[in-house]
Amino acid sequence: MSAINVDLAVNGLITGLFYALMAIGLSLIFGILRIVNFAHGEFYMVGAYAYTLIALAFGVPVWIALPLAFLFGALVGWITERTLMRPLYQGYTSWGLMRDEYAVIVTFGLSLFLINLVDKIIGPYAYRGPPLVETSRITLGPIMISGHRLVAAGICIAVIIGTAALIKYSFWGKQIRAVSQNRLGASLAGINTAKASAIVFMLSGGLAAFAGALLSPVINASPDVGVFPAVKSYIIVVLGGLGSVPGSIIASLALGVIESFGAVYLSYQYRDAFGLILLMLFLLFRPQGLFGEKGREV
């Protein structure tokens, strides 16, 4: 492989790791509630701001600001679940049978609300988060990378593995998987489904916020910063099979690499369209994604 292809592959895989942090949470939410959270990008935005403002305004060390951003995202996720998601499984929305439509509207509205709230309170300016490592250029064999990107990618891998293990082996992880597979059965078996949903939203909000925090030195926090990563994670969860966590991780890495090569060999201008076209094709012809088992519900 020529030097440029190695660069493209490495760069694509690193981008994919960041995508995965976002997509795991979205996928878990779909698994447990069968909805797409259209405010997912705003969890990411909240994290980017929390990290940047805590570190810059209060002079808190970056290594403390980073977990604080996770907690902040988890808090927003928890509030969202308590106030807006409960009707989805406890049946007291004003929408009656139109449960899916309620979820679309309410998360879409929440997204608009959070974007405009931050725009008004913090302002429309972009803030650059402080990097975790100041070194701006590290050479690793054939590849060059900024210190921050390297460290952030390492943290990303650790968090992804940790989350996957948590879901697979922990007590609550098992309960969440049980609810995802069969909500009614799980609740008959004595599992507290409301608590499982709350945990999923906290984890999902926390992970998205964590991704925002890790990337804030690169992307500069601004109110609408989450819109784009959210679109990427929609693509990923569909490609990976809605609700499948391993599927999402693989799809994230794949999308990162596809975009990286596509931008150079196909078209730089249309690089963001590749994923979206894949998304439409999958939804229309293979809605269970690459790895999902269940078909769509009609």
């Binding site: 069968r34 797409v36 899916d100 879409f108 819109v227 998304l279 439409m280 939804l283 229309l284």
Partner: protein
Amino acid sequence: MVSTSPNAAGASSPAPAMKPSSAQLTTTKTTVEFRAALIAMAFIAAIPLFVSNAYWLGVLIVSMYFAILAGGWNLLAGYTGQFSLAPAAFAMIGAYTTGLLATYFAVPPLLGIPAAIVVAGVIGLALGRAVMRLNGPYLALTTLSFAEIMRLVISNSIDITRGDLGLSVPGMINNRIVWYYFFLGVLVALLVGFYLLLRSKAGLFLQAIRDDEVAARRAGVDVVFWKTAAFALSAASAGFAGALYAHFAELVTPELGLIGQTGLIVSMTVIGGIGTLAGPIIAAFIVYVISEWLRDVGGYQLIVFAALVVIFARFFREGLWGLAKSGYKKFSAKRGTST
């Protein structure tokens, strides 16, 4: 036979001996809403008698643009249950159709606008057909991707569309007042069209599909045809609005198709009352005019509107229209008992 007077729906009147069929109920409800919308339009038609400031007339014209979009989206989402996230994209498609035709082939607006309606309608037909079997989150995601792809293509094909730089479009009418009544005429025509459609058999089919698609199919309703038709109609009306806006603003940019614009359209519909004929159209005026009004006092309006969307979705599905209706019922009930 047209329905009885709207007052008959008041709670004070004793329950009718015979339960009216659901078809009759729907027709009555739609007629009440249609009359309310017509009264609102008459009020809006009178505004230029009192307001001559070109700026506020412009604000009202843009409100009408949004009213057409909200009305069209409501037809699709409120009456057939297809929650497309692409209405702004169809407006953008309409605007660029007439804009590009004018730029490259010097097509006059009076031909460009119908062309825009047709192009948006045909694309809507194709998309509607493709997403036929998708529901809920799948439909929302597919239409969202479609909207984003359209925007990306238009904003990156700089050599053809001038991308984010915006495309200058020739004007059509030099007089604000004439523009005002032109937009209003289109809005009223669409309103009447939607009313006639909903009052006809088609309206019943659409709502039957929304409430229970499987049952509707069993009852012999051509589900594929009606769902696709609604999608195409909604897209065509959005394309119409976009084309008009292009010639009014004399500029089109890909901003017309931003997700935020769809957000505004959804907000207006939900605040006004989704699935009601009058609510979304009236709410478009309320939301947009208040936005402009509050521009100078801090611009908190978008936060408030977004919060309203969440609150209305959570608690009041029929939006402002529903609130007004139940308020009216309470009022007439009270008056009924006191006399």
